[in-house]
Symmetry: C2
Subunit: 268 residues, 2 copies
């Protein structure tokens, strides 16, 4: 049987499941909120074109306004000054947007410290347990943060010092950017950098190092707790906005049931 | 080897390729243009938030305004009066959006007659040659129309009687809606109905029958000529706009190289 005939059969039988990692997109979807004097993007707003009325008796449709970086979205290299001569979102090759998922689970650490940062040693520790990161992989940082998604204040988790959300240290971001196997980095939080990353050196190191190295980010992922540590396949689907710095994206994971079960058995 | 390990290996070796079926999204992307008194949707417009300036010294980003039904997009059941109690775009289960592709190629017929309509006999003829439509399939109507995509006037192909673009007859649409295996219908043109479908009975029969039967449409597909007749897998990725009648979508096809070659050999 060919690979795709096998995939079709597995989808039909349910042995491969499609898990939606995308945050539903509405006016309530949490978005990034930078401090003054920086400008901020907008969340979703909807404007009806017709709604079974004189403007369209048999049909309803809407126009929408939304930030390229609202909700679950992809960061393209041209979003950051380090990648400004790189790819816009429409120029990223599809084969970089579909690949094996590596889950790094720091739910326990983040629950104790919302400012927790991934360091090179965490990636090295993961590889010593599970093997080298596979070619063209997406590293997904599991933090449990999506559980706060229904509560905008808890999701942003800000005090006088700004937002407190987990991320990656400057050394960790440099490590990820230097790993040739990695296509991208995915997070449950509102952005790919930590809430306090404006104070790191360089500031916003994940943006700075990854986007400057032709790697990509996806944010506001849900259902990450349903992924096995290895063995799932990510499909990142941004709109191909010509020249765009990013795009709201649909993100699916293909998960093989016996992989999930095997992983659960190993933990038990 | 598990199904997904096989897929990962095939993507790495290039034996499975990801073909982008999406029209790039810009202010030039052709959109539907209905006659008076009906309201029309908008194409993409982009508004900068910052561009490596005081509003964001290290980053560039934009807000965008776009129709739910602009460019390559999905039609959800609630778009049409026959489906108004059905699913909005965010409610469509991901497993209905990923499935085997069936290509019906009428490029020759459409080149002779731009108003060409698919009839039930065309679907039956296809099945007599290639077997029954597989479970959860997407029927893609190959017409060669995407070749007109760079020329807005040629793409719409209108005269005093309105647009002349290929589609499906009322009987054909009813046939598709009645086939339990079909998840959706994809076209190269600006909408899932023919240019002259306002004059059919019921008017806009693909919208009317398919969206009323919990089937979906995708439009403005490119690169359909790179698909084998059978054996490829479609991934339709609309944004999960809460309550949305549709969404601009990224659409990928997974194609197995030997399947394409086998198909070409059969034609030779
Ligand atoms: Mn972003
Ligand atoms: Mn539409």
């Amino acid at each position: 049987m060919s690979v795709l005939a096998g995939l079709t059969a597995a989808l039909s039988s349910g042995s491969v499941e499609i898990i939606d990692l995308t945050t539903p997109l509405s006016s309530e979807t949490p978005i990034l909120n930078l401090p003054q004097p920086f400008a901020n993007t907008v969340g979703l707003s909807v404007s009806p074109v017709s709604n079974f009325d004189d403007a369209g008796p048999a049909w309803a449709w809407n126009d929408v306004t939304v930030g390229e970086h609202a909700g679950t979205h992809l960061d393209a290299p041209v979003h950051w000054i380090t990648g400004k001569d790189g790819k816009s979102v429409d120029q990223i090759e599809p084969h970089r947007l579909v690949g094996p998922i590596v889950v790094i689970d720091k739910t326990t650490e983040v629950s104790a410290d919302p400012d927790f940062l991934l360091e090179p040693e965490h990636f090295e520790q993961w590889q010593s347990e599970h093997g080298l990161f596979p070619e063209n992989c997406w590293v997904i940082f599991r933090t449990g943060w999506a559980a706060r998604g229904a509560d905008a204040a808890a999701f942003v988790n800000a005090d006088d010092a700004g937002p407190h959300t987990p991320g990656v240290s400057a050394a960790g971001a440099k490590w990820l950017a230097g790993n040739a196997s990695i296509s991208g980095f995915g997070v449950e939080t509102v952005g790919i950098d930590a809430g306090q990353a404006g104070g790191l050196d360089p500031m916003f190191p994940v943006h700075s190092f990854l986007l400057g190295a032709d790697k990509y980010g996806v944010t506001s992922l849900r259902n990450v707790d349903r992924l096995p540590v290895t063995g799932a396949t990510l499909v990142v689907a941004p709109l191909p906005i010509v020249g765009g710095t990013g795009s709201p994206s649909r993100v699916y994971a293909l998960v093989e049931k016996h992989v999930v079960e095997k992983d659960a058995a190993e933990k038990a």
